[in-house]
């Protein structure tokens, strides 16, 4: 593949951002159109890539590789495999939807969409970079635009948006400091061992790191990626952050940005440090389970919709961790798929909450009620997201969750039961929120609300369609993911403990 498809995909939003910079300030519609065009291009390309990816062949495809920094062994190495592909698609689905979810932004639209485009491009970059260094370059690109978007366009509730934004930013950055330290150490060690600097994931994966070293490094990476993934107890930025952020940011952050944590955990930590992974897996599982249960319980106590979804996403990331910790094909498949599923679902959720907030100026559940009558389409979107959140079969998140359960149940047995029990609590809070927001007697003050229409429908249509299609045809997702997970599992197989099995063989 000579044509640099991925680079173009990456550049499209950046070019849109560049165009936006030179547009006049008050052409709001134009800003939105440009942003939509930019993200649409990326979406179209990533759809093309997704469906033309050769699943039988597997491995890295659409590869572009240019030497970049010789003494660090860095190359501009872009490519997609079964792991990155769903994430790429997810990014663009959500990026595209986020533009439309922000359709009603009135204040300083130009800056808003410039930052949004940078955000989308940054996230995209992490998923298609196959070189650790390039990955890191993109890893934090997004933090600052997010901060600015939160403080300018965000909203304050329990905490001020300034606090939320700062907490989010600093928390993630400090987490990433651990990651960076481990990356540098890994690199130095790899040069020591092989003598040849190579920063590509593949190259690092081939280095036989000493086991003790792997164990230390994995822990650091776990802290780094774990805080991004809002692993319990490193999650406390998450609910506050989402609550403070404007809709588009919440969508992208909960939808894809968080997933970088899980993605990195698999792509870097597990792949390069398999012995470390094997060592820490039970620990991760415990944290994952704790996260599931704890965040679900916290979500139950929430009255603010965004907090609710914020805690809910912490809870869902617990499942992802659990899947990763299972360290078997099924678990990791499920983890990746669940990241995709949760991304779509959370984005839809946040976009709907965003519309609700925009229209009613409140997210406080007791102040809402009966909206299903007044804004039925919004209610449909909300309920779809809610149902996906509680893992309703037929929507995208059930099969991934099931897969995670299979994978983790196999390894952790009864421990996993706690996590599975989380689905009950999830159902409880999600349904309560849905019921108290949408159902019940309609309130007079909301009688003249306008239902979402036109461009506002895009998030619902796009993400809703993915929710349903992914739920009905999970193989669309799993075949791709599996083609990426299999090589990783084959690579790390030697380091893994034999599975704790229930009963005899299976």
């Amino acid at each position: 593949m000579n044509f640099p498809v991925l680079t173009i995909c990456l550049l499209a939003p950046l070019i849109a951002a560049l165009i936006l910079i030179f547009l006049p300030r008050d052409e709001e519609r134009l800003h939105k159109a440009v942003a939509a065009a930019g993200t649409f291009t990326s979406l179209a390309i990533s759809l093309y890539v997704y469906f033309s990816y050769n699943r039988e062949l597997g491995g890295l495809q659409f590869v572009e590789r240019i030497p970049w920094i010789n003494d660090l062994g860095v190359s501009y190495f872009m490519g997609v495999d079964g792991l990155s592909l769903p994430m790429l698609l997810l990014t663009n689905l959500i990026g595209f939807s986020a533009v439309f979810a922000s359709w009603n932004v009135k204040k300083r639209t130009k800056e808003f969409f410039v930052l949004l485009m940078v955000l989308v491009a940054g996230v995209m970059g992490t998923f298609i970079a196959q070189d650790l260094f390039i990955f890191l370059l993109f890893y934090e690109v997004v933090v600052i635009p997010i901060y600015i978007m939160v403080i300018v366009w965000g909203s304050s509730k329990r905490v001020t948006k300034e606090y939320a934004g700062m907490k989010l930013t600093i928390y993630l950055l400090i987490g990433s400091a651990f990651l960076l330290a481990s990356v540098i150490a890994t690199f130095v060690k790899s040069v020591q061992i092989t003598g040849v600097p190579d920063m590509s994931f593949h190259g690092l994966g081939q280095v036989p790191f000493p086991e003790q070293f792997q164990i230390y490094m994995f822990l650091l990476m776990l802290i780094g990626f774990g805080s991004l993934l809002s692993m319990w107890p490193l999650h406390s930025w998450s609910p506050d952050g989402y609550a403070g952020a404007p809709t588009a940011v919440s969508m992208i952050h909960a939808g894809v940005l968080k997933k970088i944590g899980g993605y990195g955990l698999i792509r870097l930590a597990v792949y390069v440090m398999p012995a470390g992974a094997a060592y820490w897996a039970p620990f991760i599982a415990v944290l994952g389970i704790a996260g599931c249960a704890y965040a679900a319980m916290s979500a139950l106590a929430q009255k603010d919709l965004k907090y609710l979804v914020g805690y809910s996403s912490v809870s869902h990331m617990g499942y992802v961790l659990l899947g990763v910790a299972a360290l078997n094909s099924v678990g990791i498949n499920g983890a990746v798929a669940n990241m995709f599923a949760h991304g779509v679902m959370a984005a839809l959720f946040f976009s709907m909450i965003g519309f609700i907030y925009e229209k009613t100026h409140t997210r406080w559940i007791p102040d809402l009620g009966g909206l299903a009558r007044q804004v039925p389409r919004l209610a449909v979107g909300f309920m779809m997201a809610a149902m996906a959140s509680l893992g309703l079969p037929g929507l995208i998140s059930f099969i991934p969750e099931f897969t995670i359960f299979v994978g983790s149940f196999e390894r952790f047995g009864l421990l996993a039961v706690v996590a599975i029990a989380g689905i009950i609590i999830t159902a409880l809070y999600v349904l309560r929120a849905g019921a108290n927001t949408l159902f019940g007697p309609p309130r007079q003050e909301y009688d003249d609300l306008k239902d979402i229409k036109g461009p506002e429908m895009v998030p619902l249509v796009v993400l809703g369609a993915v929710l349903v299609v992914g739920g009905l045809l999970p193989s669309l997702l799993f075949d791709v993911i599996n083609s990426g997970v299999e090589p990783i599992m084959a690579h790390i197989a030697d380091y893994l403990p034999t599975a704790v099995q229930i009963g005899g063989g299976y």
Binding site: Y294, M297, Q302, V330, L431, S475, N482, I502, G503, Y506
Partner: protein, 638 residues
């Protein structure tokens, strides 16, 4: 044609699903069109189902070799899941029954729901429900079954909450969903365990493996799996102690109660246990649990039903009770009896609900039977069909319910669970009593002047009549003299239970006694003084029953105090401890900065002082710690 239907049985669930999509995306603005689409597709589905069922029931080959065809759904190393169709006599019977009832209910709904603003939506939900239910019935593996299982749950949720602006409907829907969700947790665990132990979820493979389960796991684990799997049905089929949602589910429109909460969805649990008989049959104790749960539920619900006042609630408890019967039958190992009762119950209970709906329709949703009376005169079709249903459920021959209930009692008796048999028999008496109590109160006796009932339109009465016919004759295929049912639907090998005349007669007697007592209390005694007297005399018992043993209150207490309380505690822990640590370290960092800046006094000689102090410290530390300097060497050996 028949061949086509059998090999395209996936059309049976697909057709209503298509109807759902069409209504949602195209015809929603046109209510009549929507209902037409829905009914047309349902009819097509019914025809296909009927043909397929006909195909199955004409070829004995299928008794032991179900027709299975699957396609890959998704998979990876270690987990491969197919979707497919599993057509055997049981599922053939089910799709026939479900599609028929669904069709009738849809027709009925054109009348009942007329003018409702959510008319199209209602039909779309009904279609979706039919699709899910049929899909569940035809599932070829446990996961697929679970998927549809949950989807019917969703439809149930949506339909219970159809009048979502009513707080009661909203709460009932939520309750239904969450209660069944709790149960599904167990089911899911069971499925996971099956997957992990046997490596497959396909029924056909599992059927082969289950008898040799020792190769895979221990008996204890098998029991555990069976119990876990049973938890799902406990929730879905309203068994004690997860029955609480079912009576509340009556907040939905009455056709929904008829279709979902009487005839089809609630029997899904029974069907699931039946479908997995190969697992349950291997572990005696699990089966016994099923039996006990069933019998107790049957009795327990019946006692509650005795005191209830709202027509649909009485029917709901009766449903719970009848579901208990079915479970009991399964538990004593008679799939035949269980499914037979499932089949007959579907007709008479659907009939009664629809008739009740007709009544409510006429009385503008006045539900208390005590405020009705003499309706049979104004609403003859509704009334008499209801009576047929009442006879059927009470177990009066030759109505359908008699045969199936008799089969159950017989099975219970013959399996040696005499106590359960006794319980079931008492329940039969209670059933007859409370059912006829309702009928007498509502349809006979004096008319209430404030009511202005009128007979419902034809599109509502025709389904009633059809169902009444089925309720009357539906059991005739399983009488001791014509044991067609017993020859087709069974687990393992056909049961040839010798009819036991004593049991038959005693059950008739109990039914008659129940009806008679109801007659005495509520028809003969015009002022109902005796009934009221009884209620007063046994005030504590009456209150206990009337308040459904306070189980709802217990659950409410549990959720409010235990669940919400611990949620609250978790949240407080989160914002004060977890977040407190975060904010605390931030505050410490900031505080350090703010404090230390005051060392920066702005006085130049202070800076110089610090400077040389540092020089001193460095010198001293280096001189006295550094091994490479010769200072230490001098002080040491040299």
């Amino acid at each position: 044609m028949i061949e086509f239907a059998m090999h395209h049985a996936w059309l049976v669930p697909l057709l209503p699903a298509v109807a759902f999509v069409i209504i949602v995306f195209l015809t929603r603005p046109w209510p009549r069109l929507s209902s037409a689409v829905s009914i047309a597709f349902m009819l097509a589905s019914f025809v296909t189902a009927a043909l397929a069922a006909y195909g199955v029931f004409t070829d004995p080959h299928f008794k032991h070799h179900p027709l299975i065809y699957t396609v890959r759904w998704f998979g990876m190393q270690g987990l491969n899941i197919d979707v497919g169709i599993y057509l055997d006599p049981s599922s053939a019977m089910m799709i026939f029954m479900v599609s028929l009832v669904a069709l009738l209910v849809q027709i009925y709904s054109t009348g009942y729901m007329k003018g409702d603003p959510g008319y199209s939506v209602f039909f779309s939900y009904l279609s979706l429900f039919a699709a899910s239910m049929l899909g569940m019935v035809l599932s070829s593996n446990l996961l697929q079954m679970f998927v549809f299982w949950e989807l019917v749950g969703l439809c149930s949720y949506l339909l219970i909450g159809f009048y979502s602006f009513k707080i009661s409907a909203r709460e009932a829907a939520k309750k239904a969903f969450i209660t069944t969700r709790v149960a599904d947790f167990g089911l899911l665990l069971g499925i996971l365990a099956v997957q992990i132990i046997f490596g497959t979820l396909n029924f056909d493979e599992l059927t082969q493996m289950a008898p040799n389960f020792e190769n895979y796991t221990t008996a204890g684990m098998m029991t555990l799996i069976a119990v876990l799997l049973f938890i799902g049905p406990v929730g879905k089929s309203g068994q004690f102690p997860l029955h609480v949602w079912l009576p509340d589910a009556m907040e939905g429109p009455t056709p929904v109660s008829a279709l979902i909460h009487a005839a089809t969805m609630v029997v899904a649990g029974v069907y699931l246990v039946g479908r997995n008989m190969f697992l349950f049959a291997e572990v005696e104790s699990a089966l016994y649990l099923v039996a006990v749960t069933g019998a107790f539920t049957a009795f327990f619900a019946a006692t509650i039903a005795v005191t209830q006042r709202e027509i649909k609630r009485i029917l709901a408890y009766s449903t719970v009770s009848q579901l208990g019967y079915m479970m009991l039958a399964l538990g004593v190992g008679s799939l035949t009896a269980s499914f037979f009762h499932l089949w007959t119950h579907a007709f008479f209970k659907a009939l009664m609900f629809l008739a009740a709906g007709s009544v409510l329709h006429a009385l503008h949703h006045k539900a208390d039977v005590w405020e009705m009376g003499g309706l049979i005169k104004k609403m003859p079709i509704t009334g008499w069909t209801f009576v047929i249903g009442g006879l059927a459920i009470a177990g009066i021959p030759p109505f359908a319910g008699f045969w199936s209930k008799d089969e159950i009692l017989l099975a219970a008796y013959q399996s040696g669970h005499y106590f359960l048999f006794l319980l079931a028999s008492i329940t039969a008496f209670l059933t007859a009593f409370y059912m006829w109590r309702m009928i007498f109160l509502a349809f006979f006796g004096e008319e209430k002047p404030e009511n202005h009932p009128h007979e419902s339109p034809a599109n509502m009465t025709v389904p009633l009549v059809v169902l009444a016919v089925l309720a009357a004759v539906g059991g005739l295929i399983g009488t001791p003299s014509t044991p067609l049912w017993q020859q087709w639907i069974y687990y393992g090998h056909p049961h040839h239970i010798e009819p036991n005349v004593i049991i038959m007669l005693s059950s008739i007697a109990l039914a008659a006694a129940g009806i008679g007592l109801a007659y005495l209390l509520y028809v003969r005694d015009k002022e109902k003084t005796n009934a009221k007297d009884l209620a007063r005399r046994f005030q504590p018992v009456y209150k206990l029953l009337y308040n459904k043993y306070y189980i709802d209150e217990m659950y409410q207490w549990f959720t409010r105090v235990v669940v919400d309380g611990s949620a609250r505690i978790t949240y407080l822990f989160d914002i004060y401890v977890v977040d407190g640590i975060v904010n605390g370290s931030a505050a410490i960092t900031k505080g350090l900065g703010s404090v230390m800046r005051y060392f920066q006094t702005g006085k130049v000689q202070t800076y110089a002082l610090v400077f040389y102090m540092a020089v001193l410290v460095i010198t001293v530390v280096l001189a006295f710690t550094d091994a490479s300097s010769s200072v230490l060497v001098m002080g040491g050996a040299e």
